[in-house]
């Protein structure tokens, strides 16, 4: 909503710079997007009088003009506009002037003839082409006859105005009008606004009753008010310049005197109005109803629209001629030939208009206001004002009376609120006089009894109907700057993370200290990526109406997103990347639309975790590096159960020989391994290792009871064993056997070498372990250890076919 500060002077005496006014509006009422100064940056643009206008000797369309710009000698200017002629007052950009869009005008020659400046069209002065009246769009703009040559042109075009561009919140529809804004500013500055009056003269000899008949076939809620007036003998022409200026400064294109009058009154009162060509209404019959399935209407913009049963339509003899509150029909449009006008002033249901505007993608000044609500008490006044204005501008007459399709009894709303409640909610200590004064300034009449206000809210503030709404009025007029700043008091509460939140935080820190940086990827992805790397099979949750094919489905795993991140980095020559993500995956649940949201934590590493440096080689990450990170992390969780890694070829996106499922006892909680080379290629990443863990499950699993173990005071004894063993025999099997046969004092088994290179027969590998024995209560005797160790060696040979070296 653009508010002209010059127009505001009709209402209020505001001797305040526009920026200050804007700041005040912003602090007290609605957001301000900025102050528009149409002449900003423009200089030396003056009124010129074309004294002579001769055809250019070397051109079939240029003219050479001598233009009086208020100086001793006229300026010679070459002009190509079709409408340039001697005797006109025109806009002259003098030599070295600045016009719109930061353009500088210099002396030049056009086809050999000197041109000392330029005659301008409106768009050259920075007018938005959507605001330039169509009849002047193709030529230079002709100024009024009384314009004085040499004077700056801006005041003649309203370009010296300062326009406050307000962004109106949905609740403040009342400020989508000059009247409403004036009431608001009057309250802010404690003034009494001068409101417009209506000077309507009806033609006593011309009664509307026999000529226009209006019937409402929609219910009271959809169409609470519908009224029409009839204006006869109107001469359609361009509006006077003052009116055009007010409209274009308000962001509306001047069309003709009838449409401009309705738009002007719309700007004044916030009441949408629609003018029909009365002679196109067969028998003057108008009815309003909901559209029927399959009906069509060609709207003003030339579009043929299929109507929906939720659309309210204005009909002539039951044929739709207008989409109520959004756009008129082409058939009954006011044209140059129109002489008689049927003028509509109505109130339509906000939700209905909102749907129509949305469904037909037709958002107009009218629909915007109906959606936010309008002042039901002002409809007929606005209708009268527009009728009077059309008659005046078009030399027509207004028929006597109003054709009323539906009327309503508009009553002010009464709200009661105590002073104590106001102070209680605001945390203030305002007295009765201060609050009374605020209500008075707002134009709300009040009566006070027992420290309680009964406030009568005029219909122009239809947003107010609750005590809370009044509290807001008091707060903002009193000024938020004047409120004290305190913190809540009352019974203390404990603020701390719950177990899940604490574990998520701890998990993040563990990952970071292991060298992984936190990524936050998109939860929405393609269906294929959403399903990839899923720990458990599940259906996916899809958007009903996605915005792009890349973001259609909620993820089942975090890895696919991390691989996208890695690919993004790889494409930018970052080949050493270690990321983790903590976030939700979305498993579908039977019979339910809403998926089960499970916290997962996943990591993806490619390249070397250790950056290349002097004296340190890069260490390309491998399976065992990422497994080490996972194992260290799981250890930090202190799970009661036993963590196991089981080779798995079941994940199609993972390397079949380099992937382990991770179990805690018998519960699958995740997997770790190398991304399948084919998958890596498809995601455009290099060799990459990943893991994904079900964090929700890990959080829920029982934790080990932590109890101090006394540290043995007695020395330990170690024995090393190296063996050749079948390549397929796993470390886990060897360790399990050693543990089983190791005896009571075997404390630790450490693998210190794995070798399958030279000197190792094909199909075999060499493993070497250190076994540590210790007794809690006594010094171990060497013989005891030797005996226990021999048992292990025997078992390894007989049960696993190991060859002890």
């Amino acid at each position: 909503m653009r508010i002209s500060t010059q127009w505001l002077q009709d209402y209020l005496k505001l001797d305040i710079p526009a920026d200050e006014l804007a700041e005040k509006i912003e602090r007290t009422a609605v957001e301000v997007d900025g102050v528009i100064r149409p002449n900003a940056g423009q200089k030396k643009v003056v009124v010129g009088h074309v004294e002579t206008c001769e055809p250019h000797p070397d051109s079939d369309h240029l003219h050479v003009c001598q233009v009086d710009v208020g100086e001793a000698e006229p300026l010679q200017i070459v002009c190509g506009a079709p409408n340039v002629a001697a005797g006109e007052n025109v806009i002259v950009a003098l030599p070295n002037s600045w016009i719109g869009n930061h353009t500088k005008i210099k002396k030049s020659k056009m086809r050999g003839v000197k041109s000392n400046g330029m005659l301008c069209a409106l768009d050259e002065l920075g007018f938005d082409e959507k605001l330039v009246p169509k009849e002047v769009a193709d030529g230079i703009f002709i100024l009024p006859e009384d314009a004085k040559p040499g004077e700056p042109v801006f005041s003649y075009l309203g370009m010296d105005d300062e326009i406050i561009d307000m962004s109106i919140t949905p609740n403040r529809g009342d400020m989508l009008s000059m009247n409403g804004t004036a009431h608001e500013l009057a309250a802010i500055y404690d003034q009494t606004p001068t409101m417009p009056t209506v000077d309507l003269h009806e033609d006593a000899n011309d009664d509307i009753d026999d000529q226009l008949e209006v019937r409402i076939d929609a219910d009271q809620r959809d169409v609470p008010q519908y009224k029409m007036r009839l204006i006869k003998g109107v001469h359609i022409q361009a509006s006077p310049l003052w009116l055009q200026i007010r409209l274009w400064n308000a962001g509306m294109r001047p069309i003709n005197n009838v449409v401009d009058a309705t738009n002007y009154v719309l700007m004044q009162y916030g009441q949408p109005l629609h003018a029909f060509d009365y002679d196109r209404l067969t028998d003057g019959q108008v009815n309003v109803r909901l559209a029927r399935e399959g009906e069509h209407l060609t709207t003003l913009d030339g579009e043929d629209r299929e109507l929906l049963p939720t659309d309210l339509v204005i009909c002539n003899q039951d044929t739709p001629i207008c989409l109520a509150g959004t756009m008129g029909g082409l058939e009954t449009e006011v044209t140059d030939q129109t002489t008689n006008i049927a003028l509509e002033g109505a109130v339509f249901d906000a939700v209905k208009i909102r749907k129509t505007a949305h469904n037909h993608d037709l958002h107009s000044e009218a629909s915007m206001r109906y959606e936010r609500g309008i002042d039901h008490g002002m409809t007929e006044t606005a209708l009268d004002a527009a009728a009077a204005m059309i008659a005046k501008l078009g030399n027509g007459t207004v028929a006597r009376g109003v054709a009323v399709g539906r009327d309503e009894d508009v009553q002010p709303v009464t709200v009661t609120i105590s002073l104590a409640k106001i102070n209680h909610v605001l945390g203030t200590d305002l007295d009765l006089t201060t609050v009374t004064d605020i209500f008075n300034r707002l134009g709300f009449s009040t009566t006070v009894a027992d420290q309680t206000y009964t406030v009568v809210v005029p219909s122009r503030r239809w947003d107010i109907h609750l005590p809370a709404d009044l509290i807001e009025e008091v707060a903002r007029i009193y000024g938020y700057d004047n409120l004290p700043a305190t913190l809540p008091t009352g019974q203390p509460t404990i603020g701390k993370l719950n177990e899940t939140q604490q574990m998520i935080r701890d998990s993040r820190k563990m990952m970071e200290s292991a060298g992984l940086t936190q990524a936050i990827s998109y939860s929405l992805t393609t269906e294929a990526k959403a399903k990839a790397f899923a720990l458990h099979a599940s259906d996916v949750t899809k958007l009903d109406f996605p915005m792009s094919s890349e973001r259609t489905t909620l993820r089942l795993s975090l890895i696919a997103g991390l691989l996208d991140d890695l690919a993004y980095n790889n494409a930018r020559k970052e080949h050493n990347v270690a990321l983790y993500e903590e976030g939700r995956v979305f498993y579908s649940q039977p019979e339910q639309v809403r998926p089960k949201e499970i916290e997962h934590i996943a990591g993806a590493i490619t390249g070397s975790m250790v950056p290349k440096s002097w004296g340190v080689a890069e260490q390309p990450v491998d399976f065992y590096a990422i497994k080490g990170i996972v194992a260290g992390y799981l250890k930090s969780l202190a799970l009661a159960g036993n963590v196991r890694y089981v080779a798995s070829a079941d994940h199609p996106e993972m390397h079949p020989g380099r992937t382990a499922d991770i179990y805690v006892d018998d519960q699958l909680v995740g997997f770790v391994g190398e991304v399948h080379p084919a998958t890596a290629k498809a995601y455009k990443v290099r060799e990459t290792y990943v893991f994904e863990l079900d964090l929700t499950a890990l959080i829920a699993l029982p934790k080990a009871r932590q109890q101090y173990q006394p540290i043995s005071k007695f020395p330990s004894i170690t024995r090393d064993v190296a063996m050749l063993i079948d390549d397929q025999t796993t470390n886990a099997a060897v360790v399990a056997l050693m543990r089983a046969k190791g005896g009571a004092h075997l404390q630790r088994i450490e693998l210190f070498d794995v070798y399958n290179g030279e000197h190792v027969p094909a199909g075999k590998k060499s493993l070497a372990y250190t076994l540590t024995y210790q007794d809690q209560n006594a010094t171990l005797v060497d013989d005891e250890v030797t005996q226990a160790f021999e048992k292990v060696l025997n078992a390894l040979q007989t049960e696993l076919g190991a060859e002890i070296r």
Partner: protein, 348 residues
């Protein structure tokens, strides 16, 4: 030569030898030679039997004095030489300390997590509970229970991803607040919750729009919660995140779930309030929305608005991070370029 003179001679010779010894080995050699069991001093003392008994204590004392003196000189010389050797070694071991250290591997929290964590900690310190709602929510909780019935014009402010007609991706983390309200037992004290999390809007991704971003919403409900409390809380948030030197202003706004509603601006830190491109020449930057909980929202959760009241506020960590660090493209937060992520050091 008297024994005494002999001792003096030994002393002077010994001190000279010690002084001239230039390596430890020589010092040790001097020691063995002079003070050893077969050394000249022992020899001298053996000659004591030839000395008159009354002279013996004097000679003995003098001999001890000489021996102690020599021992001290040896210790001193030894330590001198050791120190010199150490100095030489240290000089040889000198490093170029400007060479880079060997890298220790350390990851970092995401910048948005840092902001969320900072605010979580601030609010937990004031007794707030952190609550995590679901990201897939019912329209009923996301909108209707927050006083946004279907067809409400304010729904235009939040274009929504729907799964079905009634299920959506939450557009605000306050979607969980109706549940907090209806589940809270006010006999145990006020409700004070902070809901951080991911939210979604049906937007095309560009420099300033993202279909996924984060929100932190706060809610306090009790018998005596005032707008002044809200103002004090918002000032605290702004100053915690941006610094004490900035001003905060509140101005009226509209949210269906609060009445009165306000937006909070802080002084533009780019221009210090003078007006620049970042603050669109206003000198202020909008950082959060807030208000007093609308009575309808309380009523719908079975709470009597005549007895209880409260405030709610919401802010965007993405936007905060953009403002605080001058990030000019919101997509940076979700592309996870390591060159971007590694710029924000603070521990989360």
């Amino acid at each position: 030569m008297s024994l005494q003179d002999r001792l003096t001679e030994l002393r002077d010779q010994g001190l000279a030898d010690i002084k001239s010894a230039d390596v430890l080995k020589k010092v040790n050699q001097v020691k063995v030679e002079l003070l050893g069991k077969k050394g000249p001093i022992t020899e001298v003392l053996r000659g004591m039997r030839d000395v008159a008994p009354e002279e013996r204590p004097k000679i003995g004392a003098y001999a001890n004095e000489v021996r102690d003196k020599l021992q001290a000189a040896i210790d001193h010389r030894r330590s001198e030489l050791e120190q010199a050797a150490l100095n030489k070694q240290l000089a040889a071991e000198q490093l170029d300390v400007t060479l880079p250290g060997r890298p220790a591997v350390q990851g970092q929290p995401h910048v948005i997590t840092q902001i969320i964590t900072e605010l979580e900690d601030l609010f937990m310190g004031m007794g707030y509970q952190i609550v995590d709602g679901d990201e897939v929510e019912e329209d009923y909780y996301n909108f209707e229970r927050l006083n946004l019935p279907k067809d409400h014009p304010a729904r235009d402010m939040q274009d929504t991803f729907y799964i079905t007609k009634d299920v959506l991706l939450r557009t605000q983390t306050s979607a969980d607040q109706p549940r907090s309200l209806e589940n809270h037992d006010f006999s145990k004290g006020p409700l004070k919750v902070l809901s951080p999390g991911r939210v979604y809007r049906r937007d095309t991704d560009d420099a300033t729009h993202s279909h996924q971003f984060h929100q932190i919403e706060g809610l306090v409900v009790d018998k005596h919660i005032t707008m002044a409390d809200l103002k004090g809380t918002l000032i605290l948030v702004a100053k915690t995140l941006f610094g004490d030197q900035f001003d905060v202003r509140l101005r009226p706004s509209y949210f269906p779930f609060t009445e009165p509603s306000v937006e909070a601006d802080v002084t533009c830190f780019n221009c210090n309030g003078k007006g620049c491109a970042i603050c669109k020449q206003t000198g202020w930057i909008e950082v959060l929305g807030a208000g007093m909980v609308h009575p309808h929202v309380l009523e719908m959760s079975g709470i009597d608005p005549e007895v209880y009241g409260g405030f709610a506020f919401g802010l965007g960590p993405d936007r905060f991070a953009m403002l605080k660090y001058g990030v000019d493209d919101i997509r940076n937060f979700y592309l996870n370029d390591v060159r971007f992520l590694s710029q924000f050091y603070k521990k989360g």
